[in-house]
Subunit: 340 residues, 3 copies
């Protein structure tokens, strides 16, 4: 945690335009609604603009368009949220990262652990794993054979890398995530399921983030791939041989079935399902709880979520929807199935 | 596990009306369909009323309206399911809770553990954590810095509290749950993602229950909050700075995006998605797999789930639904986008 | 990993029809698009037929109908994917399974562990658990009281069996799965929730597979049951007292609410929700992200997923859908609620 800083020093350090008292001391960060005079906050989402007039914050980071309405000192930024992110990082509690292997960790003879890596309590690192310089493996992690954890990467706690998982540099993986489990490959034969060996791995690019309890299966043949700077929220499921392009972000509870390809710079909202073996182009936005069942060209914005309505009204809507088909068929009895 | 009890004793203890043999011995609990003469069961869901006539149970807990149709002894209750819950608890196998720290647990020097707390095998408790009297930390849990586990709270096994998580009293957390991981805060800047520090925590009220593999992120600024007696099923995702009111229950696989506020006494069915920065009032029911994309007033019942139909018929319905828009635009070519 | 094999030997071993050079040496497996001359691949999904002409693979497993279009040697199979599964298994890296208990594991005095079972690093096995011959418990697992792990069953890593869980033979459970946690049983009484004891267990049949971070709750009264050869992908939620018939497969992120019964040989696609207390017949297919809110007869194929569309067009469709109900009510003001 940093010592207090002046508003003038913050403006200079992050190349922001100061409007107000350069000597004002900022000792922390807060929200428009609940912040205090010694704190700095931000306004980025217009939904919160109404909170500006009554804020008790000492200063606010905002865009030029909002500056005139600000009743306190401000820092004007092209991108107020990014400006806030950089300033807030100064006030984040620092964590000590002490290289070395905790005595309770179980490290197999054939594991290759850099002396500048940290292995936490009660981890299990199997033979054939490699942990690079500055990597930090939190408590309770399991690192299986043929897994590589790149320099500066952090597994927060209780992360499992099953087999043939390679993480790039500065990757952040949250607790409960499971990378490199078997893909769901099954052939039906003679009345029962036959398991299809999953011989590939997982490759995660530099600067990716993987949310809590997210699962990324390893490839059947070839690898499941996240390019650099992909950001996955919690409880996302990524099937085998999926490829996700650089800088794509995906919110919680999405599921991507096997061999789908998602482009670069996509924004996938929460609860979206993506079917297997299709392609989503670059710069595609998909709204919450949509089902992507065919390829989508990019750039573009797509949706199929239905907003909740009063449930009596919704029941009637569902009934009318059903009759749409029946009615059309009465009117045109020869009409064929639509199979679009 | 309790010794056998008589029906009369049960009626008296739980203030229920007995119809039948007060001396009948009850040695356990069972279902209407599969229960045995020494057992007591219940009828609450009308769906199972048809099973009453043929039950082999020794006695049934039910409402006054169902008593005449009961072929065996019964206990009449205003709330038969609650009556059953209390009686079944008498037959639950008891678990021994032995205070103390298992020798395989790793407890940092700066952790504050009450002598009447129990720390299970292979737990990792970091500096700055506090575990209060009667709390029980099952095997394989990870408790990070600045976390507090209240009196009488139980973490069943393999639970992770990442940082700044405070659990009230008598909270029950099931395996695989992750509380206090980073919220999904990202600013897009200069062509790539910039992480927004997540400086808040998580506060869980007394008597809450958190399901297996559920994730609750910590706040960005300020805390993510569950008030008292909130009940979350498995695999629920709660984003940063969400607030959930007292006595609300949420079924499996729901997802609530950041900064949403959900009222008190709400019932949220399985698979519901709630968008961020909105408000759901008190006593709101949301039906399964609905998408809440704007604020909902309470009390009320809302839905947007579509029941599965025969897939050929469904394909035609989808096609007609698409044509609704095209047809309307042909008829009124000047009509504007609806942006309701 | 097997030594290289000839195409003739593979044809003979798996009873496939060879077209080409019986002496061709096969040293591994690959895809049509990226495979190399020393490898064998397969063609099963017609979507990939266009990749056949340019393949560099040494040989392809395919159906008789595709053989003439194959530019390289081939093995003709009635079920090419199953043929591939068997051949690929020959090239899977072998894992050593060494019976015995890792010294870092914590095994309670009252646990019954077969000498031919393997208990991995940092496992916790509680009193009353039984691990049978050839079972393999990977690192970081927790096995609670009254749990049985059958012969030849493998828990990959960090699996939790909470209480009263019986796994059959040759079951495979992936990391992060939680079996036997409390079902979500609550009675509302006197303004707050009362927990309903969950007195049953979980029974998993032979040859089942349970995906990463999947949760299967134990029964309230009686057991939650998966019959033999049920295959569950990752992040599936199975409520208490659910029963799933033999040979049914369910893709990622499905949720099945309490007491639902699903038949044999069903195929449930990803993200499907099944409401409680209903029945799905044998040989039912449910398409992705459908909501099953009443019983479905089998055999049959059902759906209610909506494919994503351009979001402007989708907004208009949603608006028209809403007006369907309003319009019909204006035309027939006396019409009753539909409650179908």
């Amino acid at each position: 945690m940093s010592a207090a800083l002046t508003l003038g020093a913050l403006a200079q350090r992050f190349d922001l335009t100061l409007r107000g008292d350069a000597g004002r001391v900022i000792a922390g960060v807060g929200t428009l609604a609940a912040g205090e005079p010694g704190q700095i906050g931000f306004l980025a989402n217009p939904r919160y603009r109404r909170e500006l007039a009554d804020t008790r914050l000492g200063a606010v980071i905002l865009s030029a368009a909002d500056a005139d309405a600000c009743p306190v000192d401000c820092l004007i930024a092209r991108n107020p949220y990014a400006g806030f992110a950089r300033i807030a990082a100064l006030f984040e509690p620092s964590r000590a990262m002490t290289p070395g292997i905790h005595p309770s960790a179980v490290v197999a003879a054939g594991a290759d652990i850099h002396p500048q890596a940290a292995i936490g309590a009660l981890c299990s690192i199997e033979a054939g794993a490699r942990i690079e310089a500055g990597a930090e493996i939190g408590p309770g992690c399991v690192i299986g054979p043929d897994c590589v954890v790149g320099a500066g990467t952090r597994l927060v706690a209780r992360v499992t890398l099953v087999t043939r998982v390679t993480l790039g540099r500065r990757v952040l993986v949250h607790p409960g995530a499971v990378l490199g489990a078997d893909g769901f490959g099954l052939a039906f034969d003679d009345g029962r399921w036959l398991k299809v060996p999953q011989l590939g791995g997982v490759r995660i690019g530099d600067d990716c983030e993987i949310g809590a309890n997210t699962t990324i299966d390893r490839g059947a043949l070839g690898d499941t791939v996240l390019e650099e700077d992909v950001r996955l929220d919690n409880q996302i499921q990524i099937g085998h041989n999926v490829r996700i392009g650089a800088h794509t972000a995906m919110a919680g509870c999405c599921a991507v079935a096997g061999s789908a390809r998602i482009g670069r710079h996509c924004l996938i909202a929460g609860g979206v399902g993506v079917a297997g073996h299709l392609e989503i182009g670059d710069r595609v936005t998909v709204q919450a709880m949509s089902l992507v069942s065919r390829s989508l060209a990019g750039p573009g914005e797509y949706a199929s979520g239905l907003p909740a309505a009063d449930s009596r009204s919704w029941r009637r809507t569902v009934a009318r929807l059903r009759r749409l088909d029946a009615g059309a068929r009465r009117a045109h009895p020869s009409s064929e199935d639509s199979r679009e």
